[in-house]
């Protein structure tokens, strides 16, 4: 899924088309999303706001192929991707999407450095990894420096503060040079100034590297820093503002 050509005209990058998602709880069907449509252009920074429980995380999971929609399609560069084989979807998750989870989700057995390198360890075979180990480790160190964690390389996640874990999770999402960054409340557990730093980092990535970002938040001040904000209410999207 390499799209090297850069076109000036806005180009649709990732899209959800009439997506519905319902959870099954015994005999009950709990509908969460009722026909959501969202288009995100390449290099766009979209934020999704909504009440707690409105299905923001669910929508993000569907976009990132962590879950399959009950009805509807997910498109990447105009191609349907939610019905691909398990192997191709694993590949996409590893190479195209970078995911920042609401609850960090670091691996407790691994150090910060190893956690950040995890997507690359998954990508390469043992031999391939060992061969470019130095290069990859330097890359990870650079990234950790950018998120301000260079002094915590060998710590375990349990030895980090919430904000530090969030930053480690961001570094992990970026290490594989993804095309799309899916961030679930990346500043939810941070104080205003740290949150601001993270937002600066995301904006820089968006502007300088043309990274497509979809970010979930319920903080309107944060949401406003994105290029465009949409609101999820009762399982449907409402357009809010087209800033910048």
């Amino acid at each position: 899924m390499e799209t090297a050509e850069i076109i000036k005209m806005p180009q649709r990058h990732i899209a959800a088309i009439a997506v519905e998602k319902a959870y099954r709880k015994g005999d009950h069907k709990i509908p969460v999303l009722h026909g959501v449509n969202i288009d995100v252009d390449r290099g766009e920074f979209v934020s999704i706001v909504g009440q707690s429980g409105s299905g923001k995380s669910t929508l993000l999971h569907l976009l990132g192929l962590l879950d399959a929609p009950s009805v509807g399609e997910i498109h990447l560069d105009g191609q349907r991707i939610d019905d691909l084989s398990a192997k191709s979807r694993d590949e996409l998750r590893n190479r195209v999407f970078g995911f920042i989870f609401q609850f960090y989700h670091l691996l407790p057995e691994l150090s910060v450095m190893e956690n950040v390198l995890a997507p690359l360890m998954i990508r390469y075979t043992l031999l391939g990894y060992v061969r470019r180990k130095r290069e990859l480790q330097n890359h990870a160190r650079d990234l950790l420096e950018r998120v301000g964690l260079s002094h915590r390389l060998t710590h375990r996640p349990s030895e980090l503060s919430g904000g530090e874990m969030q930053r480690a999770a961001i570094a992990r999402a970026l290490i594989g040079k993804p095309e799309v960054l899916l961030a679930d409340e990346p500043t939810g557990n941070l104080d205003a100034s740290t949150g601001g730093e993270i937002m600066d980092l995301l904006r820089t990535l968006n502007e300088q590297e043309n990274l497509t970002i979809v970010m979930v938040t319920h903080d309107n001040a944060i949401a406003e820093q994105a290029g465009r904000t949409v609101r999820l209410r009762e399982g449907r999207l409402e357009k809010l503002a087209d800033a910048a």
Binding site: H61, G64, L66, D67, A86, K87, D90, E91, L92, R93, N94, R95, F99, F101, F103, H105, L106, L107, P108, E109, L110, E114, A118, P119, M121, I122, R123, Y124, T125, L126, G128, Y129, V130, R172
Partner: protein, 517 residues
Amino acid sequence: MYKYLLCTRYLRTRYIALTCIISVTLGVATMIVVNSVMSGFSSQMKERIRGILADVVLETGSADGEKDPERIMARIQAVAGDHIEAMSPTVEVYAMLSFRSFGDYITKPVTIIGIEPESKAKMGTLTEHLFNYMPQRDDEGNSIGPPRFAAAVPASFELLPEDQAYRTDQKEGEMRFRAHSRMMNELESTPENTDAINPGDLFSDTEVIADAEGNLPFEEEEPADLTSPLRGRVYVGSELVTYKYIDQVTGNLKTMPMVRKGDDVQLSTVGAGRPPKALHFDATVVDYFKCGMSEYDNSLIFCNLDFLQEQRGMIDEAGTRSVTSVQIKLKDSADSALVVDLLRQEFEPGRFAVHTWEQKQGPLLAAVEVESAILNVLLFLIIAVAGFGILAIFFMIVVEKTRDIGILKSLGASSSGVMSIFLAYGFGLGIVGAGAGVGLGLIIVWQINWIEEQISWITGKEVFDERIYYFPEIPTNIEPWMVFWVAVGAISIAVLSSILPARRASRLHPVASLRYE
């Protein structure tokens, strides 16, 4: 790549997995120790049987035997001479052994084997099993002196001077007693003498015997000199003529001889004529025989061949002797099947039978094999139990690691990748467990006699009692293939039992497992 990292991390941080490793280790170590000891026992036992029976035995069809052992041996030499190291003609016959012990006659069924000590000694291990060649022991089995004979001294049917002294002592007492009782009988049977018995006469007893000795009329059936050993000489199986008891005072097991070296025993068997006639003869015990196989120690009596042939009428008018079997020792015992084939072609099947020692002891060896197979199945169950431990603990780890599995999958790990983490983890457990088990097992086997000593010392009781097991040390024999297969078996059980948890882990849904908090 992540698989290896996570495996090693999990192996290091999940201490509960250590319990799996330990149970695999113990199972493997137990199997190796038990197999090595059993194999040691059975190879020692085979060694002994082979020592008694020789590699190949040529037997005659009838108990009368075949004439002219020299000619038979020449025929054997002609067909299979290249493979043969030594041969020994023997006569084997069933018999009854009777002896007097504490006033009672004891009778036991035995097999008499008539041997030439010189040629029999070349067959193998006869002298190793004779008491005169073993360290001297007291009645509790403690060593009290060096062997009377060095192993190099050829076996013979001569009575040792010490034993001769005992015999002389015994027989002189016996003769005195007989003469005395004869005197008493005479005195009683002559009525005119009855009133002559008074205290004064008792002092004259010895003089009466001395007077009587020379001219007693009914001495003919007894040899004049009872003190010299009889012409029949035997090595008697030690268990035939001893009994074991626990000393009430010390609690130790004691061995009590009922017949001493130098005593006479009576043997009853059949002659070689037609129809067979019962015959009895006396023989002097010159030594005990003990090979540790109670089957033999409880039934074999080795007798001097020429005497046995003479008694059984196996010498014809021309002086040609007969034998019932020829024992053959091979240069290389592995050739026994080949030699058996050669001999079977040469000798008429109706009159001669040819066997290897293994064929003669088939049922016993088969029983040992079955025993060891059953034991192996049981012991392998120990490892199987360890396998179930791995299964349970892995399910626990999968549950505990559900979130991590979700993370890995959301980062792009494939289902098969996740599965292989757990399989590799099981394989790692198996390798570590089996490796430690092999090491532990080999160390135990190597030091088993030291361990036995320590346990004996701690408990104050001998664990491996030589008088029960007949081995001075616990025999062991490590078979490399056995060790290899035990290790492979343990590793594959570990891998097999991690398959189910691994499949379960691979099927976890990324988001569902991420929500698991």
